[in-house]
């Protein structure tokens, strides 16, 4: 049985990774699960300088989901390399580093820094965070800017590039094409969906940032549709994510067109989810007599 998949030149032992921002820098979960079982570890978004993040409250639980507005708190490139890289480089599975910037030049510079570091599995370009004023979704919801960011990073590194897409667009196809044409090796679909919640007693927004990004099982059908549309538009692999709680959810993403998947919000409440998904995919393949996990990708029968 083959579970391995390919993202650009990066080979993963299985198609199950974690979503950036839901897994810290890997080390936090190392005492609860064996990280070497994963397809890859994906770390929280890093820009050049340390980032303080938004005031609290930063998250709020909603029906079958979570709205967050963390504001990409992080240690910056140097802080990350000093604090977290010694642990991550010792893992047997690749580390994918999620990067962002407030300017195109900063994205490219961060890409260059991680290219020079050596040993990084891939870079994921965060052009879709809804919770920061400059950077993030500003780049992912403008097709020309998106192409420029991806092209600039493409020039800066030979590492595989994954573009993490915003769901907040009329049609994802032109964005998917723009990223692919600019040299992205893969797409990660999707980031959180812009959202808001209000406390009716105080009439105040439940997040200090007023709005945030919605994640968790409630966004899964939206993400499935976006993966399916993007898969019909581009040939590069897609990493599907949005509300995956079990293997069935992951398989659904793959049938819609995803080559790999990422577990996100579920890590917060059940850290074993990612391992359960891997086991469940294997069981499904056995039951359905599937020899290669890649056979599942794009196998939805829409034409019939």
């Amino acid at each position: 049985m083959n579970l391995s998949v390919q993202i650009g030149k990066l080979k993963l032992q299985n198609p199950v990774m974690v979503a950036s921002g839901t897994f810290g820098y890997g080390v936090e979960y190392a005492r609860l699960i064996d990280l070497n079982q994963l397809g890859a570890v994906v770390v929280k978004g890093i820009r050049l300088e340390p980032v303080r993040g938004n005031p609290t409250p930063r998250t709020v639980e909603v029906a079958s989901g979570l709205i967050n507005a963390i504001g990409l708190q992080g240690p910056g490139v140097d802080g990350f390399i000093k604090k977290y890289w010694p642990f991550l480089k010792g893992l047997k599975v690749p580390t994918i580093i999620n990067i962002w910037g407030t300017t195109i030049e900063e994205y490219a510079e961060v890409a260059r820094r991680f290219d020079a570091l050596g040993g990084v599995g891939a870079l994921e370009l965060n052009v879709s965070c809804p919770n920061i004023k400059k950077g993030g979704a500003q780049f992912g919801t403008d097709v020309k800017l998106l192409a420029k960011v991806v092209a600039a990073c493409r020039k800066a590194t030979t590492l595989p590039l994954i573009t993490k897409m915003s769901p907040n667009v009329m049609s994802i196809a032109p964005y998917a094409k723009a990223a692919a044409d600019a040299g992205s090796d893969a797409l990660a679909i999707m980031n959180s969906y812009p959202a808001m919640a209000i406390d009716i007693e105080t009439r105040k927004p439940k997040l200090a940032n007023v709005t945030g990004g919605l994640t968790g099982p409630c966004i899964k059908p939206i993400a499935i549709k976006l993966v399916w549309e993007a898969a019909n538009a581009v040939k590069i692999p897609i990493i599907g994510m949005g509300g995956i709680q079990n293997a069935a959810d992951a398989i659904e993403f793959m049938m819609a067109g995803a080559t790999a998947v990422a577990v996100g919000t579920a890590n917060f409440y059940e850290p074993q989810t990612v391992l359960q998904v891997i086991t469940g995919i294997r069981e499904f393949m056995q039951r359905q007599d599937i020899k290669d996990v890649r056979e599942i990708t794009g196998s939805v029968r829409t034409a019939e």
Partner: protein
């Protein structure tokens, strides 16, 4: 820190809307330090996904307990569970209280409402007895008074409505006591944030060290999501630190109260 499925030994109403939950967790109990918490997945919450954090109250043999108030979806669902049912628990979590050294400072505990739940183990494990200031709105909100007295501690109760103990806020008898004698004493507190801020300022005024257990809305409980942060002083400024990992217990002098508004 372990993630385990544990069995409920008992889950009973204490007073009013307060409950005590006891679970059997033989691998977790030896690891527990005062002030640490357990992150519990309540299996019957339907569309509410997240775990709920609770201070660990008591440890007895291979069991530990939590003391909780029914305040919302999670605690309501938890209150409906009974003996024999199972829960997924990640524990013990967080950075707890510093247990006083033998012959060291006399501990002064300050608890607001069920804040006493986080302080009981410290009272039990402290080599020297101290004074526990326990405050609440009404008589019903004063928890485990007898149990702390049973440890031979001096317990001083205040209620806002005067229905039990001295009438007023828990900080009043604390100030009176520190005025009497502040030397060689250390404050440990858990309760609502405004109470903690007041306690922190009182400790500073009397030049007494204080450790505060901060209650900030939590999500993952293990340090990845960065939900539960509070502003904490660093060398030349401040940064957001995690209540679940660097805390919940912080040295009160490091908390930047003016950034918490």
């Amino acid at each position: 820190m372990l993630e385990q499925t544990v069995q409920i030994v008992s889950n009973e109403r204490d007073t009013d809307s307060y409950f005590r939950l006891v679970v059997r967790a033989p691998q977790i109990t030896p690891l527990i330090q005062p002030g640490q918490f357990a992150h519990i997945r309540v299996p019957t919450m339907k569309d509410a996904l997240l775990r709920r954090p609770f201070s660990i109250f008591q440890v007895r043999d291979d069991t530990f307990s939590i003391l909780y108030k029914t305040v919302g979806k999670g605690t309501d669902a938890l209150a409906r569970l009974g003996a024999g049912e199972e829960l997924s628990v990640i524990a013990p979590l967080g950075h707890g209280f510093t247990i006083p050294k033998p012959g060291g400072e006399t501990p002064l505990l300050v608890a607001g409402g069920y804040g006493m739940a986080a302080l009981y183990l410290l009272a039990q494990r402290s080599p020297q007895k101290g004074i526990a200031f326990v405050g609440g709105r009404r008589r019903m909100d004063i928890l485990c008074e007898k149990e702390v007295r049973a440890l031979d501690w001096d317990v001083r109760v205040t209620t806002e409505d005067g229905s039990h103990g001295e009438k007023g806020l828990v900080t009043q008898p604390l100030v009176a006591e520190l005025r009497r004698n502040a030397a060689h004493r250390k404050v440990f507190a858990c309760g609502p944030t405004p109470m903690l801020e007041a306690v922190g300022k009182i400790a500073e005024e009397f030049n007494v060290p204080a450790e505060l257990s901060m209650d900030e809305h939590m999500c993952c409980g293990v340090g990845v999501c960065l939900t539960c942060v509070i502003p904490v002083k660093t060398g030349d400024g401040w940064e957001y630190q995690r209540t679940c990992t660097e805390g919940p217990v912080f040295d009160s002098q490091r908390i930047v109260w003016e950034e918490m508004k």
